[in-house]
């Protein structure tokens, strides 16, 4: 249920419909992208793949934000407050919706 892995879209395909060729560090497979097409996808985008279907489009900014938050762990409270202002608010249960590019 849980084994899903990020892969990069190399090309979108017509055969079969709603498919894309993805690459995972040199391993390539056709996956079904019906579930992420509404988000708008194209070559170079990263998607999460599970049983041959793309489940979600990866959001690079969120990944960067998360890593940045971890980088400043252990520093002063004040510094952390500042960081929280930049990234999506950790304490807000209704995070701001990220619009897909």
């Amino acid at each position: 249920m849980c084994l899903a892995i990020p892969g990069k879209i190399i090309s979108l395909g017509d055969d079969p419909a709603h498919s894309a060729l993805i690459d995972v560090v040199g391993v390539r497979r056709r996956v079904d992208v019906s579930l992420v097409e509404p988000d708008g996808i194209g070559p170079g985008d990263w998607v999460l793949i599970h049983v041959g279907f793309a489940m979600s489009k990866l959001r690079e900014q969120d990944a960067i934000d998360q890593l940045r938050m971890l980088t400043v762990l252990g520093e002063t409270e004040a510094a952390m407050e500042e960081v929280r202002g930049y990234s999506a608010d950790v304490d807000d249960p209704q995070p701001k919706e990220h619009s897909s590019p």
């Binding site: 249920m1 849980c2 899903a4 599970h50 959001r59 971890l70 980088t71 249960p93 919706e97």
Partner: protein, 373 residues
């Protein structure tokens, strides 16, 4: 590997582990349940337990769709394979799961046409390529996997592929969490929420856990940094006496989930009124079946299955381990009658079941063998 290596960065992991040690109140014992089997697997694979202070206990939840499948259902699926015209397809996870008369691999050794597929789409492909045979796909998994089965069935219907059916054993995660919380000996303080199920259902379905049960829940990714950061977020909530749903896995999970996936599921599936979960008993509205529009592709309607209930021996204490009352090694059968090679109960059946994961990755660390001179 992008989006993977960054989340396994050793320095950040040390930093986050340090923060956990700083935040954990030494006077308190924390019990955090990771719901999903994939998290159980990640915790053991990356040795995360060893990075946590001793007063944070990780309890392994019921989110292993292979483990919770009753043996009777495996027998039902295998009974279809007895028909020489049928090609039985399933994920690799199912192949060693014992039925009453052996596992799928053992049935294959005796001549049944049983094949591993990586995707339900591959099973449909087999059906297209073998018009004279019938391909049956043994579907398992939570909401992460159900949309893929749904899309495959929609494709089968659209293309008029009749020699294909699905034996649907998809289960849903919320009723399982509810069953854990409803049980009287429940002792969980907080939840590490299933990351990939949430890509489909979003974070909203967990709100009742925070609001009505007062337990914090953080939807978590599967890399070491993800799990550790989720523990940090849970500790902060527990420290402040808060109970909220938080999304740690933002790069993948959106609050509303995947609308297209939910739509596909609604198109194809209906909720069963109840379903048996191995080790947990019958849970209402916890599993999916194909709806009437897809009756022609429903293996349960195409084949007459024995439908015999097979119960686990009373000595198997799976239920207690699932709820965190017992640790795997405390079950009387653990390591003796019940091992990953010869599993007696649910949690030993798949490598992400609590007992199997502990057995494979951990418990020999604690067995110091005396070496004769």
């Amino acid at each position: 590997m992008k989006y993977i290596d960054e989340f396994r960065e050793p320095e950040l992991i040390s930093k986050t582990a340090e923060e956990i040690r700083r935040l954990a109140d030494p006077g308190r014992h924390y019990r955090m349940m990771e719901v999903c089997g994939g998290h159980t697997h990640a915790i053991y694979r990356f040795g995360l337990k060893g990075l946590l202070p001793p007063n944070i206990e990780l309890v392994h939840g019921p989110g292993c769709p292979v483990c919770v499948l009753p043996m009777g259902r495996i027998d039902d699926g295998l009974s279809m394979a007895a028909d020489g015209n049928v090609i039985f397809t399933a994920f690799g996870d199912m192949m060693r799961v014992p039925g009453t008369h052996g596992s799928p691999l053992e049935h294959k050794a005796r001549g049944a046409d049983i094949r591993i597929v990586y995707s339900p789409a591959d099973a449909l492909k087999l059906a297209r390529a073998n018009p004279g045979r019938h391909v049956m796909f043994f579907a398992i998994g939570f909401e992460t996997t159900a949309p893929s089965t749904a899309l495959t069935l929609m494709r089968a219907k659209a293309e008029g592929i009749r020699n294909f059916s699905v034996f649907c054993n998809h289960v849903t995660i919320i009723p399982a969490i509810r069953a854990i919380l409803d049980s009287p000996d429940m002792r969980i303080d907080a939840f590490i929420g299933p990351g990939h199920v949430s890509t489909v259902i979003g974070c909203r379905p967990y709100e009742w856990i925070a609001r009505h049960e007062g337990k914090p829940i953080v939807v978590s990714g599967f890399e070491p940094l993800d799990v550790l950061q989720s523990v940090v977020m849970l500790l902060r909530q527990l420290q402040r006496g808060e109970a909220k749903v938080e999304n740690q896995y933002r790069r993948v999970v959106s609050w509303d989930g995947n609308r297209a996936a939910l739509k596909a599921m609604a198109e194809v599936f209906t909720l069963r009124s109840y379903f048996e979960w191995r080790g947990m008993g019958f849970i209402s509205q916890s599993a999916l079946a194909l709806n009437d529009a897809y009756a022609d592709w429903d293996a349960e309607k195409r084949f007459s299955i024995p439908g015999i209930r097979v119960t686990d021996p009373k000595a198997a204490q799976c239920g207690e381990v699932l709820k965190g009352v017992l640790k795997p090694a405390q079950c009387k059968l653990f390591g003796n009658e019940c091992t990953p090679e010869r599993p007696v109960g649910a949690l030993m059946v798949s490598s992400e079941g609590a007992c199997a994961a502990y057995y494979l990755y951990e418990h020999r660390k604690n067995m110091l063998v005396a070496i004769p001179a």
